[in-house]
Amino acid sequence: MSFERKDPFTADYNDVLEKHSDDRDTEYVDRQEDVKEEMPAAPEVEAPVYGFADGISFWAFSQRGESHIKNGLPCQDRCAVKMIENTNFLVAAIADGVGSCALSDLGAYIAVHAAINYLESALLSDQEDEFSIPKAEDEIIGDLLRGVMKFAYDEVEKAAVEMEQLLYSLQSTLTVALYDGSTLYFAHAGDDGIVVLREDGMLKLASARHKGEEASSVFPLQSQNTWQFGKVEHTAAFIMATDGVLDAFVRNAAEKNRIYYPFIEPILTQFPKTVEEVKENCLDYYEYMAGKDYRYTVTDDLTLAAVTNQNRLCERILPSFSMEEWNYKTAQYQAKVFAALYPDAQEQHRFAQHRQQQEERQKSRNRKMQNSFDDDFENVQKKEKKKDYQDYSDWEEKNDDLFLIILCFVFAVAVIILILFFFF
């Protein structure tokens, strides 16, 4: 079995983020130091993790999102994925700290690591009997998953008590996966998700999004009555993502959780044979999601974890995707919503025009954002130049006025001299 875990951040990875974060990172560090005096902070986000064992490739990473950089907030996402040696199980966990909770980054960190540690010790201690493949039984796994959620919950609560903080301050989501190479078991709380590709080619969102009424609300790990447990047999691959990433490629429940396949296609079509190839795939995504194009659209923290079983994944089961069909269904849904929200016939008539305008505005906004993002410095220079130009124009206008005044004055003096000449 070959297995590799990436060491802490190398300069290369840091470069990717630093290139993007620019001097805003400095501001973040300063503000974080202020915060540290009052409250504990979670350790820095771990480096990307990747590995390849017995035909199963896996990788995961979290990145601090643009909104967090802009607002001086830490990365509140955490993830971990691990092949438990001497068992045939892979475990993975992702968590997203609740934005309005002051220590949610720490809560997410504790939840993820508690989940992985709990599963690892449970699998290792019982590997001789219950958990050996193919003897894994639903009931045992079910208890294990309930146990892992409870343990993560308790660990977060314990930390809150030790720090004399409210449990509310450490709230986060948590999604845990346990994979034996064929069957995927998962425990889930919150609005993150697991997208699963089965051996029959079915690609679907396996978990539910536990969102509240408003766009900002979520039912986290601490909402015990919303915990979801599930099992997907004949799983060839699965992808876990926190809500920022998930919402960008999986539409909402009203749109039947349609999945935008092009985003995950390179994960499923790479067919790596070595750990180096897995690493390459991981870092390609890491770099892409640290780039400007992606971050224009997704501003939240970013977490993506991918697991593929190369023994079960093949061209034959890969989904087909039609952009025309995707766009058609999107337009159909928008039309349905518009018709329901604005039943007035006149409004209906305006719909096509409205959509067209919206798209044009979006394009124009994107262009504006791109320009401001790329050319902040250049814009400042241009403004300075413009100001100089305006100043110069004002000066010219003033000079024109002065010239006229002098001309009038000379003319008046000449007239007075002539009058005096005639008198004397």
């Binding site: 967090h68 985003f263 390459e280 999107t330």
Partner: protein, 232 residues
């Protein structure tokens, strides 16, 4: 080597997906006659102009205008900011502010139900209340105040009251906040010059539209214009 996508890796976002519903509740009682009603009408026009300058607010904000004097009238039911048309209002009658608050809360609840039915995500609705006096429908005050206080406490609505002129009872406007509210801001402006408040309101809706609800449920609003003071 960059990741190899065969097509655009992100679908086109639908800016209208998340809605920001806002109810503008305006006093058109007799005392608003003269300069104040002209300012109000001008303010509503400038509100629309300012909305059109912000592409994201235009795609996401939904506006409903309710006026009140001796009765309550829905001048414009919820519609996209892109289709906003400023109504022309005239002043007369008494100040049924409590009835208007209840009507606004009803409108918000009904809109939220429609969003839920369609699976549309939304930001916390706004209730902007503008008045130059004190309510005259005191018999409905207890019910309106209780409903609004509960809605604010339960984070169902963002209440934003504004008193204009020296006769505005800002203490009364403040009393609609829950007693345990940490801050209870009331905006104040001269009755002769308050139309800029609507531009600020539009800009604030723009800021909310651009905020990432996954990051925080609180946003930093733009500073109020100089003609408005904020009392807490």
């Amino acid at each position: 080597m960059p990741v190899q996508f065969t097509t655009d890796p992100l679908p086109i976002t639908n800016q209208g997906e998340r809605h920001v519903p806002a109810v503008i509740l305006v006093d058109i009682s007799g005392s608003m006659g003269g300069i104040p009603i002209n300012e109000l009408n001008q303010g509503l026009i400038e509100f629309g102009t300012a909305l059109h300058e912000d592409s994201l607010a235009l795609g996401r904000a939904e506006v409903c205008i309710i006026s009140f004097n001796s009765s309550v009238q829905t001048e414009m039911s919820f519609r996209p900011a892109a289709d906003y048309e400023a109504p022309v209002l005239s002043a007369s009658g008494l100040t049924s502010m409590n009835e208007a608050i209840e009507a606004a809360l009803d409108a918000i609840e009904s809109r939220k139900a429609e969003y839920r039915a369609q699976g549309v995500s939304y930001y916390r609705p706004w209730l902007f209340l503008l008045t130059d006096g004190a309510p005259t429908d005191n018999e409905k005050e207890h019910s309106a105040r209780t409903r609004l206080q509960n809605a604010i406490s339960n984070k169902k609505v963002v209440y934003m009251p504004m008193g204009i002129g020296e006769h505005a009872d800002t203490g009364k406007l403040q009393s609609y906040y829950p007693n345990d509210a940490q801050t209870r801001p009331v905006l104040k402006a001269s009755a002769q010059n308050f139309k800029e408040a609507f531009v600020w309101l539009s800009q604030s809706l723009g800021v909310v539209s651009q905020s990432d609800p996954n990051v925080s449920d609180q946003v930093q609003l733009p500073p109020t214009p100089s003609i408005i003071t904020v009392g807490i």
